[in-house]
Protein backbone atom coordinates (compact mmCIF):
# COMPACT_ATOMS: atom_id res chain seq x y z
CA UNK A 1 0.00 0.00 0.00
CA UNK A 2 1.17 3.52 -0.75
CA UNK A 3 1.17 6.23 1.86
CA UNK A 4 -1.92 8.41 1.64
CA UNK A 5 -1.98 11.67 -0.25
CA UNK A 6 -0.43 14.55 1.65
CA UNK A 7 -2.04 17.97 1.40
CA UNK A 8 -0.89 21.43 2.32
CA UNK A 9 -3.03 24.57 2.05
CA UNK A 10 -1.92 28.17 1.69
CA UNK A 11 -4.41 30.99 2.04
CA UNK A 12 -3.67 34.20 0.19
CA UNK A 13 -5.60 37.32 -0.81
CA UNK A 14 -8.80 35.98 -2.34
CA UNK A 15 -7.17 32.70 -3.32
CA UNK A 16 -6.33 29.39 -1.66
CA UNK A 17 -3.71 27.00 -3.00
CA UNK A 18 -3.91 23.27 -2.27
CA UNK A 19 -0.61 21.41 -2.74
CA UNK A 20 -0.77 17.66 -3.24
CA UNK A 21 1.92 15.07 -2.75
CA UNK A 22 1.26 11.49 -3.80
CA UNK A 23 -1.26 9.36 -5.68
CA UNK A 24 -4.69 10.86 -6.38
CA UNK A 25 -6.99 7.84 -6.19
CA UNK A 26 -10.43 7.63 -4.53
CA UNK A 27 -9.03 8.28 -1.07
CA UNK A 28 -6.77 11.10 -2.28
CA UNK A 29 -9.62 12.64 -4.24
CA UNK A 30 -11.86 12.60 -1.15
CA UNK A 31 -9.16 14.33 0.88
CA UNK A 32 -8.84 17.06 -1.76
CA UNK A 33 -12.63 17.47 -1.82
CA UNK A 34 -12.76 17.79 1.97
CA UNK A 35 -10.06 20.49 1.87
CA UNK A 36 -11.73 22.30 -1.05
CA UNK A 37 -15.19 22.33 0.56
CA UNK A 38 -13.67 23.55 3.83
CA UNK A 39 -12.02 26.44 1.99
CA UNK A 40 -15.32 27.25 0.26
CA UNK A 41 -16.97 27.41 3.70
CA UNK A 42 -14.22 29.80 4.78
CA UNK A 43 -15.18 32.05 1.86
CA UNK A 44 -12.49 31.17 -0.69
CA UNK A 45 -14.21 31.11 -4.09
CA UNK A 46 -10.99 30.76 -6.08
CA UNK A 47 -9.01 27.58 -5.55
CA UNK A 48 -5.78 26.51 -7.18
CA UNK A 49 -4.71 22.87 -7.10
CA UNK A 50 -0.92 22.62 -7.43
CA UNK A 51 -0.12 19.05 -8.52
CA UNK A 52 3.68 19.43 -8.58
CA UNK A 53 3.98 16.59 -6.07
CA UNK A 54 1.62 14.24 -7.90
CA UNK A 55 2.86 12.00 -10.68
CA UNK A 56 0.01 9.47 -10.73
CA UNK A 57 -3.75 9.97 -10.79
CA UNK A 58 -6.56 7.62 -11.68
CA UNK A 59 -10.02 8.17 -13.10
CA UNK A 60 -11.70 7.61 -9.73
CA UNK A 61 -9.65 10.45 -8.25
CA UNK A 62 -10.38 12.62 -11.28
CA UNK A 63 -14.11 11.91 -10.98
CA UNK A 64 -13.95 13.46 -7.50
CA UNK A 65 -12.16 16.47 -8.97
CA UNK A 66 -15.11 16.74 -11.40
CA UNK A 67 -17.44 16.87 -8.36
CA UNK A 68 -15.39 19.77 -6.99
CA UNK A 69 -15.58 21.56 -10.37
CA UNK A 70 -19.36 21.05 -10.37
CA UNK A 71 -19.60 22.53 -6.86
CA UNK A 72 -17.43 25.51 -7.87
CA UNK A 73 -19.69 26.18 -10.88
CA UNK A 74 -22.73 26.06 -8.56
CA UNK A 75 -21.28 28.71 -6.24
CA UNK A 76 -19.82 30.76 -9.12
CA UNK A 77 -16.34 29.99 -7.89
CA UNK A 78 -13.35 28.76 -9.81
CA UNK A 79 -11.05 25.73 -9.57
CA UNK A 80 -7.77 25.83 -11.49
CA UNK A 81 -4.79 23.52 -11.80
CA UNK A 82 -1.06 24.07 -12.18
CA UNK A 83 2.14 22.04 -12.46
CA UNK A 84 0.51 19.05 -14.15
CA UNK A 85 2.71 16.34 -15.64
CA UNK A 86 2.29 16.16 -19.44
CA UNK A 87 0.33 12.90 -19.06
CA UNK A 88 -2.06 14.27 -16.43
CA UNK A 89 -2.61 17.39 -18.55
CA UNK A 90 -3.26 15.26 -21.64
CA UNK A 91 -5.72 13.15 -19.63
CA UNK A 92 -7.60 16.27 -18.48
CA UNK A 93 -7.86 17.36 -22.13
CA UNK A 94 -9.06 13.90 -23.22
CA UNK A 95 -11.82 14.13 -20.59
CA UNK A 96 -12.71 17.73 -21.43
CA UNK A 97 -11.90 19.09 -17.96
CA UNK A 98 -9.96 21.97 -19.49
CA UNK A 99 -13.29 23.47 -20.65
CA UNK A 100 -14.37 23.93 -17.04
CA UNK A 101 -11.11 24.44 -15.14
CA UNK A 102 -8.10 26.51 -16.18
CA UNK A 103 -4.75 24.79 -16.46
CA UNK A 104 -1.61 26.85 -15.85
CA UNK A 105 1.98 25.77 -16.41
CA UNK A 106 3.14 26.97 -12.99
CA UNK A 107 1.93 28.64 -9.81
CA UNK A 108 3.29 32.08 -10.68
CA UNK A 109 1.27 32.23 -13.91
CA UNK A 110 -1.83 30.94 -12.14
CA UNK A 111 -1.66 33.33 -9.19
CA UNK A 112 -1.06 36.35 -11.46
CA UNK A 113 -4.13 35.61 -13.55
CA UNK A 114 -6.40 34.40 -10.75
CA UNK A 115 -5.69 37.32 -8.45
CA UNK A 116 -6.21 39.76 -11.34
CA UNK A 117 -9.54 38.05 -12.08
CA UNK A 118 -10.57 38.09 -8.43
CA UNK A 119 -9.87 41.81 -7.91
Amino acid sequence: MTEGLKLKVERRDGLAVIYTEGYINNQGGEEIAEAAYGLLDEGFGTLLLNLAGTKIVNSIGISILIEIIEKMIEVEGRLSFCHLTPTIEKTFHIMGLAQYASIFPDEQAAVTELQAGAS
Binding site: M1, T2, Y23, N25, K55, I56, V57, N58, S59, I60, I62, S63, I64, I66, E67, I69, E70, I73, T85, P86, T87, I88, K90, T91, I94, M95, G96, L97, Q99, Y100
Partner: protein, 147 residues
Protein backbone atom coordinates in the same frame (compact mmCIF):
# COMPACT_ATOMS: atom_id res chain seq x y z
CA UNK B 1 1.78 -2.75 -36.20
CA UNK B 2 0.16 -6.12 -36.88
CA UNK B 3 2.97 -6.98 -39.33
CA UNK B 4 5.57 -6.72 -36.57
CA UNK B 5 6.94 -9.73 -34.75
CA UNK B 6 7.43 -10.31 -31.05
CA UNK B 7 11.07 -9.74 -30.02
CA UNK B 8 10.58 -10.38 -26.31
CA UNK B 9 7.60 -11.38 -24.22
CA UNK B 10 6.85 -11.50 -20.48
CA UNK B 11 3.79 -12.75 -18.61
CA UNK B 12 3.05 -11.93 -14.99
CA UNK B 13 0.09 -12.65 -12.71
CA UNK B 14 -1.13 -10.37 -9.92
CA UNK B 15 -3.77 -10.69 -7.24
CA UNK B 16 -6.66 -8.28 -7.82
CA UNK B 17 -6.58 -5.91 -4.84
CA UNK B 18 -6.72 -2.19 -4.15
CA UNK B 19 -3.57 -0.42 -5.34
CA UNK B 20 -2.26 -3.48 -7.19
CA UNK B 21 -2.55 -1.20 -10.23
CA UNK B 22 0.63 0.53 -9.05
CA UNK B 23 2.60 -2.75 -9.13
CA UNK B 24 1.34 -3.57 -12.63
CA UNK B 25 2.09 -0.01 -13.74
CA UNK B 26 5.66 -0.30 -12.43
CA UNK B 27 6.26 -3.50 -14.43
CA UNK B 28 4.86 -2.04 -17.67
CA UNK B 29 6.82 1.22 -17.26
CA UNK B 30 10.04 -0.71 -16.54
CA UNK B 31 9.63 -2.64 -19.79
CA UNK B 32 8.80 0.56 -21.71
CA UNK B 33 11.93 2.25 -20.32
CA UNK B 34 14.07 -0.79 -21.20
CA UNK B 35 13.25 -0.32 -24.89
CA UNK B 36 14.08 3.40 -24.66
CA UNK B 37 10.56 4.72 -24.95
CA UNK B 38 10.41 8.48 -24.27
CA UNK B 39 9.58 9.56 -20.71
CA UNK B 40 6.23 11.08 -21.73
CA UNK B 41 5.19 7.90 -23.54
CA UNK B 42 6.27 5.75 -20.58
CA UNK B 43 4.02 7.84 -18.34
CA UNK B 44 1.14 7.47 -20.80
CA UNK B 45 1.62 3.70 -20.78
CA UNK B 46 1.56 3.84 -16.97
CA UNK B 47 -1.68 5.78 -16.85
CA UNK B 48 -3.38 3.48 -19.38
CA UNK B 49 -2.29 0.41 -17.41
CA UNK B 50 -3.63 1.90 -14.16
CA UNK B 51 -7.02 2.47 -15.82
CA UNK B 52 -7.19 -1.04 -17.28
CA UNK B 53 -6.36 -2.52 -13.86
CA UNK B 54 -8.96 -0.40 -12.09
CA UNK B 55 -11.61 -1.58 -14.53
CA UNK B 56 -10.63 -5.18 -13.72
CA UNK B 57 -10.60 -4.55 -9.95
CA UNK B 58 -14.01 -2.89 -10.03
CA UNK B 59 -15.90 -4.85 -12.64
CA UNK B 60 -14.32 -8.23 -13.42
CA UNK B 61 -15.71 -10.21 -10.46
CA UNK B 62 -13.05 -12.79 -11.37
CA UNK B 63 -13.52 -15.93 -9.27
CA UNK B 64 -9.78 -16.62 -9.29
CA UNK B 65 -9.06 -13.06 -8.09
CA UNK B 66 -6.24 -12.73 -10.58
CA UNK B 67 -5.11 -10.33 -13.27
CA UNK B 68 -2.70 -11.34 -15.98
CA UNK B 69 -0.26 -8.91 -17.55
CA UNK B 70 1.37 -9.59 -20.90
CA UNK B 71 4.19 -7.40 -22.18
CA UNK B 72 5.42 -7.93 -25.74
CA UNK B 73 8.20 -5.92 -27.35
CA UNK B 74 7.41 -5.64 -31.05
CA UNK B 75 9.80 -5.16 -33.94
CA UNK B 76 10.41 -6.04 -37.57
CA UNK B 77 11.13 -9.66 -38.24
CA UNK B 78 14.88 -10.18 -38.55
CA UNK B 79 15.75 -6.90 -36.81
CA UNK B 80 16.47 -6.42 -33.11
CA UNK B 81 15.33 -2.80 -32.93
CA UNK B 82 12.11 -2.47 -30.89
CA UNK B 83 9.33 -0.48 -32.52
CA UNK B 84 6.57 -0.72 -29.96
CA UNK B 85 5.20 -2.27 -26.81
CA UNK B 86 2.02 -4.33 -26.67
CA UNK B 87 0.42 -4.61 -23.26
CA UNK B 88 -2.33 -7.08 -22.48
CA UNK B 89 -4.36 -6.85 -19.28
CA UNK B 90 -6.55 -9.90 -18.88
CA UNK B 91 -8.96 -11.21 -16.29
CA UNK B 92 -11.16 -14.30 -16.17
CA UNK B 93 -14.16 -12.49 -14.81
CA UNK B 94 -17.75 -12.16 -15.91
CA UNK B 95 -17.05 -9.95 -18.93
CA UNK B 96 -19.35 -7.31 -20.35
CA UNK B 97 -21.07 -6.32 -23.57
CA UNK B 98 -18.71 -3.85 -25.29
CA UNK B 99 -21.51 -2.70 -27.62
CA UNK B 100 -23.41 -1.26 -24.64
CA UNK B 101 -20.59 1.06 -23.59
CA UNK B 102 -21.49 4.72 -24.00
CA UNK B 103 -18.50 7.08 -24.15
CA UNK B 104 -18.75 9.64 -21.33
CA UNK B 105 -19.07 13.37 -22.05
CA UNK B 106 -17.96 15.96 -19.53
CA UNK B 107 -21.08 18.09 -20.17
CA UNK B 108 -23.31 15.19 -19.12
CA UNK B 109 -20.94 14.05 -16.39
CA UNK B 110 -21.05 17.39 -14.60
CA UNK B 111 -24.85 17.22 -14.32
CA UNK B 112 -24.97 13.56 -13.39
CA UNK B 113 -24.68 11.93 -9.98
CA UNK B 114 -22.45 9.29 -11.54
CA UNK B 115 -19.16 10.82 -12.64
CA UNK B 116 -17.36 7.59 -13.49
CA UNK B 117 -16.90 5.54 -16.65
CA UNK B 118 -13.82 7.33 -18.02
CA UNK B 119 -11.32 4.46 -18.02
CA UNK B 120 -11.63 3.24 -21.58
CA UNK B 121 -11.81 6.75 -23.03
CA UNK B 122 -8.57 7.65 -21.23
CA UNK B 123 -6.87 4.46 -22.41
CA UNK B 124 -7.93 5.11 -26.02
CA UNK B 125 -6.71 8.70 -25.81
CA UNK B 126 -3.29 7.77 -24.48
CA UNK B 127 -2.43 4.65 -26.49
CA UNK B 128 -1.90 4.21 -30.24
CA UNK B 129 -4.14 1.16 -30.64
CA UNK B 130 -6.64 -0.40 -28.24
CA UNK B 131 -8.71 -3.55 -28.57
CA UNK B 132 -11.10 -4.81 -25.93
CA UNK B 133 -12.33 -8.37 -26.09
CA UNK B 134 -14.89 -9.39 -23.53
CA UNK B 135 -17.23 -12.29 -23.00
CA UNK B 136 -18.12 -15.09 -20.61
CA UNK B 137 -14.45 -16.10 -20.31
CA UNK B 138 -13.38 -12.68 -19.10
CA UNK B 139 -11.94 -9.50 -20.53
CA UNK B 140 -8.72 -8.69 -22.37
CA UNK B 141 -7.57 -5.13 -22.99
CA UNK B 142 -4.81 -5.10 -25.60
CA UNK B 143 -2.96 -1.79 -25.91
CA UNK B 144 -0.17 -0.75 -28.21
CA UNK B 145 2.29 2.09 -27.81
CA UNK B 146 4.60 2.86 -30.70
CA UNK B 147 8.12 4.05 -29.83
Amino acid sequence: MSELGVLEETHLTFRLAPEMELEVRACACEMAKSIRMSTDKVEEVGMAVVEACINAIEHSRAADGQLHLGLAVLGSAGADEPQGLRITIQDQGVGFDCSKLVPPRIEDNLKSIRKRGWGLKIIEGLMDEVNVLSGEGGTSVVMLKVL
